[in-house]
């Protein structure tokens, strides 16, 4: 028996979420729907211009770990916070969800990472991330036992932004594969794919990564094509299992042999898309590590994503386990 179902590795970020109109994004040079990296100075400027906000723990892979635990799965997390108030909040929230989180925090500067997330009336989120303490995540933070004991490791493409996290990923993948485990990643963001296309393709083609999560924009960015068909054809050759989420059109799972189309879960009231992809991965990976069919894994992912976008913030305020049971998926 494995001690953990899913080990997630990512940038440990506290989200600061506020609403704005589309003009605000234009006036402030924020790319809509994207993750915009910012420095401390721009962080201060944008915060000054930001409306009243709420704070919640976030971080892509952290949201996935919390989602797996919320479903009743055993999750662990590697991520770097600082010894400050936001770091305390981050540690509290992920542990309180039942996720094993023991990465040693940074003593002092830089502070815990934060992302200012602006949500427009259409529910789309545009992120502005100051990486802070995340730049210090490195191979020394890999807990070998967790890497070995988790059925599947899952990490963010975003981890290619800080300087040394990629070394932690390579080390973890080696340990995991040596123990007969699988490794998965998310492509994270179309611009992130643009920045690290060659490296991401190499991770896939070298077998460092077995399973890849993406949305349609990211997978098309990966293969620099405007055709989803062409992207899928290449995608299925480059990884053992590829997932492509398509918002209200559901999602697609591709392997070399098959293509599985997964229906979306209807959404009554779209509030905030923050975390949708992360929660899709959570539902999928819970199903995957519990021996479900790919179609069922996709349904669990769709349900988790649908619940997530009907609330503010990426950490579910409801019980995903109960919702999945009610939907007949557990």
């Amino acid at each position: 028996m494995s001690k953990y179902d899913v080990l997630c590795i990512g940038n440990a970020i506290v989200d600061i979420i506020a609403r704005c109109d589309d003009a605000f994004l234009v006036e402030n040079g924020i790319i809509k729907g994207a993750m915009n990296l910012i420095d401390a100075e721009r962080s201060a400027l944008l915060y000054e211009r930001m409306g009243p906000a709420i704070e919640t723990s976030g971080g892509s892979a952290g949201n996935t770990a919390a989602g797996v635990a919320n479903l009743g799965g055993k999750a662990a997390y590697f991520g770097k916070v600082s010894n400050d108030h936001l770091g305390d909040i981050y540690r509290h929230d992920i542990r309180a969800q039942g996720v094993a989180f023991d990465t040693s925090p940074l003593n002092g500067n830089p502070p815990t990472a934060r992302s200012m997330i602006f949500v427009t009336p259409d529910g789309e989120r545009s992120m502005n991330t100051y990486l802070g303490a995340c730049v210090e995540l490195g191979p020394e933070d890999v807990e070998e036992e967790k890497a070995r004991d988790a059925r599947i490791t899952y990490f963010e493409g975003y981890l290619w932004d800080p300087p040394r996290a990629k070394e932690a990923i390579r080390k973890t993948a080696e340990i995991a594969h040596a123990a007969g485990r699988e490794v998965s990643m998310t492509l994270s963001d179309p611009f992130c794919v643009d920045r690290y296309r060659a490296e991401f393709l190499d991770l896939m083609r070298s077998g460092t990564v077995d399973i890849v999560f993406s949305n349609e924009h990211e997978v098309m960015s990966l293969y620099q094509t405007s055709s989803l068909e062409s992207a899928l054809a290449a995608f299925r050759e480059d990884c053992k299992l590829g997932l492509v989420t398509r918002s209200e059109q559901g999602s697609i799972a591709v392997t070399r042999e098959e293509t599985i189309t997964i229906k979306p879960v209807p959404v009554e009231n779209l509030v905030d898309t923050t975390g949708a992809g992360d929660l899709y991965a959570a539902g999928f990976l819970f199903g995957y590590t519990h021996g479900r069919s790919l179609a069922d894994c996709g349904r669990l992912g769709s349900l988790a994503a649908a619940l997530c976008i009907q609330q503010v913030g990426p950490r579910l305020q409801v019980s995903l386990k109960e919702a999945a049971e009610q939907a007949g998926l557990l």
Copy 2:
């Protein structure tokens, strides 16, 4: 013309909000529906036991100031935070809502106040407040110009918990009355009324306070009666205008001459009652300072409260002005 419609004075608190079941409240000795005062030690213990949370600026009168500004009114606020991260969040959020907030922050300890709020499945909130920097609010924090320039001053009964805030209130009330303004308060909480019954009655009977907001539990606690009728009869003698909110039964406004019954605004989905009373006061005071009838003031209050309890947290994530316009109230 007045520079401000409403000056609010209160404990400046960051809310930490999580869900729990009723058993959790019992096991942890938390009085349901109440504001429980806690010290730093119990604060740490409860946080350890608390589930994943979100953070938002709160504080009863701060929520009211934010609500007035959200309606398009001119609001100011006195409240004490510390020079720390939660203090930064508090200052940001209230200013970003358009509220004038210039109380000088405390340098160093105690830290900014926080309230751990547990929301049970019925939507009821149970608060656990560590007062932190709020204990340092005193008469030196009264900005005379704001006290003089605001059409109405509004403060929390909760301010009788910290040691010197009552001196700030008496000073502000004197300045306000000398300038021909009115002063209002909320009774805050039935247990708070229990602690300071004689002083609250004296504030009303001495004319220090003209208008009093309460809910039915508080007003019945004030007069130590289990009859709302008897409480209302006494209430209308003790203040110029008394408001009593009654959850899904709407609210009542009483003066010496009349009793006005105000219908509630239907609520589809009760999520979290945190801030309901504060937002009622915001809507009412906006109407009151804009020359509306008492019935219309009550309707604005009911609308604001109804919007508030259909979301998590006490600061509205939607435009109250737009909602009031759509409801034909503006």
